[in-house]
């Protein structure tokens, strides 16, 4: 099946088995290794990507479902540079081994688009499908709070 989709801002066209998993298409066939496979069964969030701006788990998606979509991974999340969420994760110690980070970054970025001024409880809930074995989560929540503030300032500055 010929699949055409936009990946991190670039158009892609590939001829692939439509029954492949999206995570394998992105990593093995497109060379984009930002999404990670942790569990392969929807429980860890390491494979999360944005499909038309919404969080999806690429381990539970088929290649065919990518056709016609706009896919954003942590690699292309901020456009040319890092996204404020990614900057804040680095600055606030929200990254240790980094395996969960691409999934956390896209999930948090999509959440902040819709909830620009969240409480810590809302952030924890939004990230409840992203498991992290390293940080204990506090610093990830700190980082998302910080990113929210950076994004509000950016928006305010642009007006």
């Amino acid at each position: 099946m010929i699949l055409s989709f936009t990946l991190d801002g670039e158009p892609r066209t590939l001829d692939l088995d439509p029954g492949l998993r999206a995570v394998d298409v992105l990593r093995e066939h497109c060379g984009v290794t930002a999404p990670k496979e942790g569990c392969g069964t929807g429980e860890c969030g390491a494979c999360a990507v944005l499909v038309d701006g919404e969080v999806r788990l690429s381990c539970l998606m088929l290649a065919a479902q990518l056709d016609g979509r706009t896919v954003t991974t942590a690699r292309g999340l901020g456009g040319a540079g890092p996204h404020p969420v990614q900057e804040a994760l680095a600055d606030r110690g929200g990254v240790q081994c980094g395996f969960c980070t691409p999934g956390v970054a896209v999930t948090a970025a999509a959440f902040l688009e819709r909830h620009p001024d969240p409480t810590r409880a809302e952030i924890r809930d939004a990230l409840s499908g992203n498991l992290c074995r390293c940080t204990g989560y506090h610093k990830i929540v700190d980082a998302v709070e910080d990113a929210a503030e950076r994004m509000r300032k950016e928006r305010g500055g642009r007006k």
Partner: protein, 283 residues
């Protein structure tokens, strides 16, 4: 593998006719996990994600119709459901995690028919009706009859769950959902309770109760419902009804909890209703 993306419910039925061995896939959060485990190996998948007329929430007077391919996120965020069916909203809020909710659908949850399916107890007490589509016509039945056992539904080959229509309970009805899991997010229910209580003149006029994860499918307890009717919604009343609940449920021991624990929690979840219904009875 061949994956088809029909755009209408009619086109889905047509695809099922053309490919009798095809499997339906909505969000894929059950099907693709089962495929990975080697439990299913479909040659043709009919994917519902782009079927417009199976997706969405519609208010129809005193009822709310939810398309089978509507995601749990859409249910959680819908204004009419939040206001009029908080029981279903709360079940959607306790479901898996935000990314899974973005993919998982109501229809997929009903058709999987797991004993732990979180939307089933609410839909049963609300008296929801399933609409089943096929090329020979449409039939309807209560959701409680649609699920015939663990992993089993009333669907015949070539049929499709089209939507679920949920009657909105009248004013003064207390809607309650609680799920106990091993952790807050991403946890399959150890026990869940959906309850609908109509309180009039300080007493319970009608109670409808349904438990998840304490039997092969949803467990109702007519004896407890009858015990509650006509009584004041006090802690004592709910404690007395709990006795019959302990007898009615048929829980199993599994990796998540023991049968004994489930039995006790199933009864104790009723006590929370006193907190909710007590003040309503006074006010």
């Amino acid at each position: 593998m061949n994956v088809l993306f029909p755009a209408t419910a009619d086109a889905v039925l047509e695809a099922l006719r053309a490919h009798p061995d095809a499997r339906l896939m909505a969000g894929g959060t059950d099907l693709l996990v089962r495929r990975r485990a080697g439990a299913v190996a479909p040659g043709v998948l009919v994917c519902l994600e782009r079927v417009a007329d199976l997706n969405g929430v519609e208010v129809l007077g005193d009822a709310i119709r939810i398309g089978a391919a509507t995601t749990l996120t859409a249910i959680l965020e819908n204004g009419a459901i939040r206001e009029r069916l908080p029981l279903l909203r709360d079940a959607a809020g306790a479901f898996a995690s935000p990314p899974v909710r973005n993919m998982a659908t109501l229809g997929g949850n009903l058709c999987t028919a797991s004993p732990a399916a979180d939307t089933l107890p609410p839909l049963c007490v609300l008296g929801a009706e399933a609409e089943i589509l096929s090329s020979s016509g449409t039939r309807r039945m209560p959701v409680a009859d649609f699920v015939t056992g663990p992993g089993r539904t009333a669907l015949e080959p070539g049929e499709l769950l089209g939507s679920v229509t949920v009657p909105v309970p009248g004013g003064g009805t207390i809607q309650h959902f609680e799920k106990v899991g091993r952790r807050k997010a991403m946890a399959i229910a150890v026990v869940s309770l959906a309850a609908l209580l109509r309180v009039e003149g300080g007493v319970i006029a009608e109670a409808r109760l349904a438990w998840g994860s304490v039997g092969p499918t949803v467990v109702r307890c007519p004896e407890a419902e009858a015990l509650l009717a006509g009584r004041a919604p006090t802690l004592e009343t709910f404690r007395a009804a709990g006795e019959s609940v302990r007898r009615a449920v048929r829980p199993i021991d599994d990796v998540r909890a023991s049968a004994g624990y489930r039995r006790r929690v199933a009864a104790n979840l009723l006590l929370r209703l006193a907190e909710k219904a007590g003040p309503a009875a006074l006010g």
